[in-house]
Symmetry: D2
Subunit: 348 residues, 4 copies
Amino acid sequence: MVIVMAPEASSDNIDAVVELVAAAGGEAYVTRGVSRTIIGLVGDVERFEGLGLRALPGVSDVLRISAPYKLVSRENHVSRTVVSVAGVPIGGDGMTLIAGPCAVETPEQTLKAALMARSAGAALLRGGAYKPRTSPYAFQGLGEAGLRILADVRAETGLPIVTEVVDAADVELVASYADMLQVGTRNMQNFALLQAVGDAGRPVMLKRGMSSTIEEWLMAAEYIAQRGNLDIVLCERGIRTFEKATRNTLDISAVPVAQRLSHLPVIVDPSHSGGRRDLVLPLSRAAIAVGADGLIVDVHPHPETALCDGPQALVGEDLEELATLVRTLPNALGRVLTPAPEAVAMGV
Amino acid sequence: MVIVMAPEASSDNIDAVVELVAAAGGEAYVTRGVSRTIIGLVGDVERFEGLGLRALPGVSDVLRISAPYKLVSRENHVSRTVVSVAGVPIGGDGMTLIAGPCAVETPEQTLKAALMARSAGAALLRGGAYKPRTSPYAFQGLGEAGLRILADVRAETGLPIVTEVVDAADVELVASYADMLQVGTRNMQNFALLQAVGDAGRPVMLKRGMSSTIEEWLMAAEYIAQRGNLDIVLCERGIRTFEKATRNTLDISAVPVAQRLSHLPVIVDPSHSGGRRDLVLPLSRAAIAVGADGLIVDVHPHPETALCDGPQALVGEDLEELATLVRTLPNALGRVLTPAPEAVAMGV
Amino acid sequence: MVIVMAPEASSDNIDAVVELVAAAGGEAYVTRGVSRTIIGLVGDVERFEGLGLRALPGVSDVLRISAPYKLVSRENHVSRTVVSVAGVPIGGDGMTLIAGPCAVETPEQTLKAALMARSAGAALLRGGAYKPRTSPYAFQGLGEAGLRILADVRAETGLPIVTEVVDAADVELVASYADMLQVGTRNMQNFALLQAVGDAGRPVMLKRGMSSTIEEWLMAAEYIAQRGNLDIVLCERGIRTFEKATRNTLDISAVPVAQRLSHLPVIVDPSHSGGRRDLVLPLSRAAIAVGADGLIVDVHPHPETALCDGPQALVGEDLEELATLVRTLPNALGRVLTPAPEAVAMGV
Amino acid sequence: MVIVMAPEASSDNIDAVVELVAAAGGEAYVTRGVSRTIIGLVGDVERFEGLGLRALPGVSDVLRISAPYKLVSRENHVSRTVVSVAGVPIGGDGMTLIAGPCAVETPEQTLKAALMARSAGAALLRGGAYKPRTSPYAFQGLGEAGLRILADVRAETGLPIVTEVVDAADVELVASYADMLQVGTRNMQNFALLQAVGDAGRPVMLKRGMSSTIEEWLMAAEYIAQRGNLDIVLCERGIRTFEKATRNTLDISAVPVAQRLSHLPVIVDPSHSGGRRDLVLPLSRAAIAVGADGLIVDVHPHPETALCDGPQALVGEDLEELATLVRTLPNALGRVLTPAPEAVAMGV
């Protein structure tokens, strides 16, 4: 931590900083420049944060140097983590495709979407039973009935389930059906929920908040990790900017940046980033090329009647193109598509 | 709702839209322009939203015209609402000051801050017992012990309590102590929490999400209102932009814009907007002048040792200046400072 | 300047930084922390900037401490500047109203608008003869014919002229008519233009770039100041954010922040910030209350046929309300409306 | 164009709109909904824009439907354009690499950088002789001396030159040396400059403004096209957001979006987007994969002493990796690296 003193700071002001830091068990090193003095602190940064240094007379700025997250940081854990979801790995040399409908609507629709996903190369099935919707008048999901449909479809297709949980009170229930819990963009800083999924004994996919910095995203992951759960996959899904042509702006740089800062796998959601079907393929190509550890894509047998986000769901030719893409582009870049588990029932 | 067809849309494409709308019980009016056709829809917009119109062949854009919120909209409720918090009004001709410490730390600190708040003109006491913090290593609040401190201080000072709740599971407990429940910026789209506070039988202060549009903010209020609770106060607290000189950018225009769109009172948090003590007074003046129905301000007897947001808490001369400001500027603009309830104990 | 070394930086890496700084005539002070080393630099920051320190092995970050602008900084010039525009002061204890049409269209329209402006309390007349327009198909201004109209209207009303210049090649011509040159938001980083207006011998109003930080804005002012012209007025006119209810988001905090960092006067444009007539009055109140040194407001005798930005121009009752506002609110806050020069012709 | 009336609009209000439109030679089609009326306009949109419709009583909103740019729009020009720069094509099936130093510093540095660029696969040489810099104290470029260096290096290496012009007054001079003129991000809305390069008889590379929407970018291109110059290449170089880990946020979606809206080629600048050397390769991979028509990359023989943007310039192993990348990844995606012109001197 570095304290920058104001040009007009007195010697007494400087001494006061040094004494306060010393009293807190730290060491302070003073550098007097021509126009300003700076003070470098060595010791427990969390403790320094609580000292109210910014409010001391003569202090102009307080700069934090070391990463405020530890368990998810690559500083102390150089090798990249591979997260296993019911046996399906995310991370490492693989590129894992997760696909499925935005929302679970009926058993038929979910099964069809799962079969489409599987044949496109997906190793995991996504599908929402609890939907956080901006409007209280929009479809909110089927709840536990949706979870049961997902479980039935898993039994038929062999695809483990990734599904969202939106309330800490529901975590236990959702975890009893799901193979991986998803925390959505609107809940990235719902700390009660983060702690609950940290306790749930299931891998977690943590979507980036739509206006969160990468540092805040990693800090949210740290909340989960603190409960002893390090099976976390980060998902970049677009951030909010002034641009209106796309629903969000896919921050493609966030993938390599987060991979350098953290040992956790990072995947991309090309469907929600752009919010437009015609962008899903180009953005999927970009995500694979930038080095993402996976993709999560909306597919739907009948996008035109989907209860949620139909305009971005893949179907037909687009889906076939995705199937070709995930089987070829990763190879050209030294990675390989993660295979789906063997199918367990006659459905496949 | 208006459908904009692509220039290359065929007559069949247009007919398909018209038929789908008709099948859903709506009416579609077609206007053929030189380069494009537009179709105006009359009927149930929520139903139209579910039709997947954006995904139909030939459809270029779908524009929603009427406000997607109803209960909180001014369209159907022209007169402005006055919310009563244990007898203290927010809205109408008054300007209500809410003040107190960011976090409840000790009984002494809370009582001192409350007395400071009261003498500065506050009619309500703010103070956090549950603190949502970006870092899991930061102080998270005292929990129920903090609520008990707040209740004791209320008994001594007569100031009703505004306090934050961060988890739907805590709402009942917090509501048993608090006079007004606060939903913080990170939880503005925590829909389970919104519904829970909607059921709690207490007025709610809803902070704007740090990257939420005004429309999304009103939609979040609609979630609360849908549970039958219309005692909602909106609080603008700064939005996230590229500017780094301030913690957030106070969106001062949001006050008149929200007041025109909604009948709910709108207040401003000048402390968290700027994140700097030296900006609290100028931003408070701006908020009163723009027509805010109230202010919520951090005060602390010892900002330099505050466990949370010390750098922005008022004390000493700055607080005296605020006291003068809230007693004079509203008057110059035709409003009046809302008085505190009569004190109930010897403390005041 | 402070160099933050990476945790894995070697002693050689650290020595290399120290030697490079010493070779450039500076001094480097090393502080070795538990996990990282930081190095404080004393000497010529501009020279250090050219050393490519960020690219050295082991360097994690380079933090600049002192303000990169000097002539416009308050660090070396504590008292606030008052800029005189043909005898009309901006800054100090006054609050100066500048008003007029967005674009000069005809002699009649311009004279009517000027008389409206004067009677509303304006001491300076704004009006554009050169209009930077996003679309090449929009009205681009009358050019020199517009400047002649402005000069005639000045002769009749006594109001000095503020007008925009958009090309360095036009500066001499525009300066031969104008009393103050305006640099618009799209040209804030048109450095050739900044240097040209710095040489023009006229006061300059510098609008903030719509996505510029306050630091970049002051740096743009420094370009003008470097040419020996310190008669600069900063104008906050709204920044670009994700919010769609307003054309731009008025960054009201920018006024006190810029006033603390710089000695230059800071005014506000409430018309272009919101882009809506119904927001001009509330935003004007907020600007006066926050401590702005002036306002620049669009007025037009016939907004409904204005060739530019009619929807935000004041007329009729709104203008009367502004006239009352500027004569009362500054007084309540210890300032006074700057009077217009005495009229020189029969027109007033 | 669509007019949305307010719920409380009267029949007279509606009639007034219809009559105004009719008087301007347009047709207005009225659709009366349950709560609102909408009016579709057919005719000359530019003319409608000048009618001040937004300001009419009862008008709630005015929505523009057709693209406000025409010459650069794909609506009227379905096939994609290939721009030729002194015989080197940009667009079509090729992927063109442009590389070179951010700034021309010396003949030796420029020649070395050009040879590095050429051997990495570049077909065009970039290098700045006029540098727009945020600070007036930063290196501003060598001016015409820099242009002469570029011309000499072109003679030795055979690589045509892309160089920036920052002032309309310099366009003729720069065009006498350059093969392609670059308009930088800060000048994207410097309309005088756009018109001057439109007249210069040289292809133009137009960088996106750092906070410009894609629509505004295309409108800026329209300014150039209007002067009869359609040899325009669009360059995405990152936009300004709240994220601080990267200098800008590369808007990777802008490539396919702009390619759908316009027939002009679209390239990507991975160096200025991220501002970090370690991101240049991943972002280059993403750009090629998303379908960009080219890349423009900073290279420098001695990044550590570069006068401009050294931290992002490629050298050594990174550059070799880029050389491999541009020769392999485009092929895997059905494109081919555009070859450099044959070398004309002994230098290569």
